[in-house]
Amino acid sequence: MHDDVVIRVIAKVMIPAVMLFALYVQFHGDYGPGGGFQAGVVFAAAFVLNAMIFGLNRGRHAWPARLNLLAICGGVLLYGLTGVASMLLGANYLDYDVLGATTQSGQHIGILLVEFGVGLTVASVMVALFFTFAGRLTHIRLMAKMQAHEEADQRKTKRKARSTKKRARK
């Protein structure tokens, strides 16, 4: 992207706001509309915006790939293990009632944990998708460039060979 001051300044203001809104959607999800899916996508949008405006390398720096795999798997495991926890406490799988002191607090804890797991996985999967596809693009461009260079080189050597032949004939 072109180095545009307006976009950069606005992005710097907007990105924290987007992330904050994602956290609101995430943690207000058990009282109002919201939850892990929506929050995860909004949260990932902040990172995608960052990478689009400040470049892929800086974006990758902000959200390293190793960490991303951990987040993808960790989210799923958090979801699953919440269910296992309620199973170990003597109830059925994903029965939140037994997780807290009362039924209500148990439901709160359960939904919070599960939705956090969902949010973590969705956010990191969206970021991973963007980086994978965008990374492929630079890869494809690089390949095309290298091919063009190679073709140009071949043409050059051919021309050289022809000109040396001509000279030799002379």
């Binding site: 109002g32 509309p33 899916f37 969705v122 998708l129 994978t132 596809f133 492929r136 494809i140």
Partner: protein, 127 residues
Amino acid sequence: MSNLIAHWNYFLVIALMMIGFYAVIARGNMVKKMVGLSIFQTSVFMLYISMGKVANGTAPILTGDTTTLYANPLPHVLILTAIVVGVATTAVGYALIIRVYESYGTIEDDELIKIIETEENAEAGDA
């Protein structure tokens, strides 16, 4: 006639569905196929979401008032899952398209079939 107008959402859904399905079947370009598939899936999302609408119902957030009419949230939740599935399908599909392009240099069905047929004939010759 009024019956037809009252069910306008179904006509919208059917139109979208057929547009998407036609693109999936009739287009030879893999990207266009994926676009058609996305439209096809979206039409089903619309079918479910419009089915959750309750006349005069509000957003399904408990108000404490027992006389409040709520929209049915269940189809929305189902479609949330289906949307996530759709995103995953789209991602896998485009990833495959990129790999096909890198490997074959084309994403047109008819050209691909030609290349594959020559490969298979060569293999059959070996065998």
